[in-house]
Symmetry: C2
Subunit: 428 residues, 2 copies
């Protein structure tokens, strides 16, 4: 181990600047904790001449991140460019092939290419670390991979996209419709360039894919995730849920059932008073359940310069201290291919539908549910709008298959005005 | 690194049995994650012939934990006996002197002898790990030492004694007085043999001393902690606090001020809706605040077979994976001696006092507070009992010094019937 650990940082957006700032401002602290000096050799970004509010003159510059990744004076390549493919992936591969350790915040790259990258890193004896890729400042990768390594993990769930949680809690608190709050979030700069990544659940699903792999010893399987965004959640749904003691969250859940690995990222109802239920604004939360530890809940800022940089530096410190771990907690070639199971595990569901306001309509719906074996826990008929009455039903535990059967049969009755909204109620 | 990591486990109480169970039941999982077999060579406990519900025949037996700690077939000595001195300390020292790694759950030993043990471990190149010593199953030592290593920590606080939190939340929920709930906790077996360790705040203070050391790079200083137990908290205090939107928690707080390291373990008021405020029963919570990460909150079971064993096994897995870290996050000889500062940082306070029910009494109290520079935010006069009226005052931010001055002057007025209860209101 050399005395100094030398970084090459690619990407000088918010997070990159945050990392540079910590390295510059907290050098003595980092040296005390790791026993080594941590320095930046060179950096790379799309434009060189831009005031980023932090002094970069003393570092080398590379226009090409691949050139940065393979410099002789770089021990650790820090990839903060983003994008699942393109330069980020090329430079990460180049770094690993050159025997450099890599720290990245790139959830999309890991969710889509995690297996190949892990195999490459492990074949080269390099570290590939990504604490910043999931839940910002929360050290959840470390908790799952190391702190809870003695557990057979039974479920991982959480709120992993701060923008969606901001939108949902703001709708609830201000009583505003989705479209208004979406626009507000846009104005505040909370949304990705392609907002579908946020509100469509894709970004959060990338994170879930990574957590699932570590938790269950399976290959990262982004395609196996059932994804549903928050676009169809209305202020009425939020109010109905509230009346019944629930909050609506974009919730990621991964658990193993007899049929395979179940990964869902979709709006769900959670108890209002539960740790997830009380989660406000852009904060993230991950709940890890294991056979021994029962339940551990981790909560913290899901994004932002400081928190994300904190996670990147945590990884850098681990590398400086000589920590070497398999990328997903066990060697990549031992990770299993688990078949993707679609909502096999039963749960109660919240249903909202518009019913033709005619005698017998409700009875037809109830009959259809009964025939599919879906039993009703609570039902409320709410306000009428013209000829349509909104009906809210909470079912007893049922499988998604039975529910889908009922929803199809319901459409055939002719009394349901629109595609019912069906949200799972997740137990906590 | 040998293929197999061999443990010697001293102490076969709840936690010891939990550790044996995980090693036996999850062997393939642990091997997949660490790349090594983890086996038990021998065990030790006070009595050999006792049915502990787990098969121990295949392991060696030692009556003397020191003999266990130094066996040739033991790589890691797992100390689960407890007690700050005596056999636990002797065996830990023997293990380190023999070049063995040590995993312990012993908060008292670390709080009182942490510096010497860390120096010994580091001089021998051995690991000394203690995740289970603080907050049971929550991987908080790891989060603080590793995950958040890029942060200058600004404050660590939390609820670290499940029994006290059980008592306080049960008082609140059932409306029962302290004495009744204390007796109930006793019947349920929640209290230590010496209950002062729990309700007197000692056990939680041991844990805080350990967290402070890691957070601030200071030598463990248990004696520098201001400790106050929950024995004087009444059901009335809980109700008054509730009325004002607060909960009372036995709260540990460590932060650095210009005057030194401030460590407090005492009943405090926290906002009812905050993560700490909503914490129920025996659950623990640690809040870590750092210059970059802002705030991370960790929550989980603070005790019990599974959760504590989970923490022990996490440490064992780290050792199996070759992780070597300084015991308190930086080398023991670099840890500073920080002067202990007593509540230097100002805060609002909750005061409860019994006032002689005479004209002018309240004015006298208000005058005394004003003279000491303590200004009143809210004041309520509550129910009379005989000639005594209970008065609740919430002050604006003040130093403990100014407050103590006021309390002394108050006693001299002759209108205050008993020593006022003064509880800090901790901002979150």
């Amino acid at each position: 181990m050399t005395d100094t650990l030398r970084l090459g940082i690619a990407g000088l957006g918010t997070v990159g600047v945050g990392v540079v700032r910590i390295i510059r401002q907290k050098a003595p602290l980092l040296e005390a904790r790791t026993g080594r000096k941590i320095e930046i050799s060179a950096v790379s970004a799309r434009t060189r001449d831009k005031d980023r509010g932090v002094a970069l003159q003393s570092y080398g510059w590379e226009d090409d991140p691949v050139a940065l990744a393979t410099r002789d004076d770089v021990d650790v390549f820090v990839e903060l460019m983003g994008g699942s493919d393109g330069p980020a992936k090329a430079a990460t591969e180049a770094a690993l092939n050159a025997g450099k350790d890599v720290v990245t915040a790139n959830k999309a790259m890991l969710a889509l290419h995690g297996q190949a990258l892990a195999e490459l890193a492990e074949s080269k004896g390099c570290a590939l670390r990504y604490e910043a890729a999931v839940a910002g400042g929360i050290p959840v990768i470390k908790a799952l991979t190391e702190g809870l390594a003695g557990n057979e993990i039974t479920r991982v769930l959480g709120v992993m996209n701060g923008t969606c949680n901001y939108i949902l809690t703001r709708m609830q608190d201000a009583g505003l419709p989705y479209e208004d709050v979406f626009e507000e979030a846009n104005q505040l700069g909370y949304l990705e360039a392609d907002p579908t990544l946020d509100v469509g659940g894709i970004d959060a699903a990338h994170k879930l894919a990574i957590l699932s792999s570590i938790a269950f010893g399976t290959r990262v399987d982004f395609d196996g995730i059932e994804i549903e965004g928050i676009e169809r959640v209305t202020i009425d749904d939020i109010r109905h849920a509230d009346d019944m003691g629930y909050r609506i969250k974009l919730l990621g859940v991964a658990q193993k059932s007899g049929r395979g690995l179940e990964q869902r990222m979709m709006p769900c109802l959670v108890p209002a008073g539960s740790p997830l239920g009380v989660l406000q604004g852009g904060t993230n939360m991950v709940v890890i359940e294991g056979h021994a530890v029962e339940q551990v809940v981790l909560r913290g800022p899901g994004a932002g310069e400081g928190p994300t940089a904190s996670a990147v530096i945590g990884d850098v410190c681990d590398i400086a201290r000589g920590l070497r771990l398999p990328v997903f907690g066990q060697r990549a070639e031992t990770l299993q291919e688990a078949p993707a199971a679609r909502s096999v595990l039963p749960a109660p569901y919240y249903l909202r539908m518009g019913l033709t306001d005619k005698p017998g309509a409700l009875a037809k719906v109830a009959a259809v549910l009964g025939e599919a074996g879906v039993s009703i826990d609570r039902m409320r008929q709410r306000e009428h709008t013209g000829d349509v009455a909104t009906v809210i039903i909470v079912t007893h535990k049922t499988t998604r298959t039975a529910l889908d059967e009922a929803l199809t049969a319901m459409a055939a009755t002719g009394v349901v005005q629109e595609l019912p909204v069906a949200l799972r109620i997740e137990a906590l």
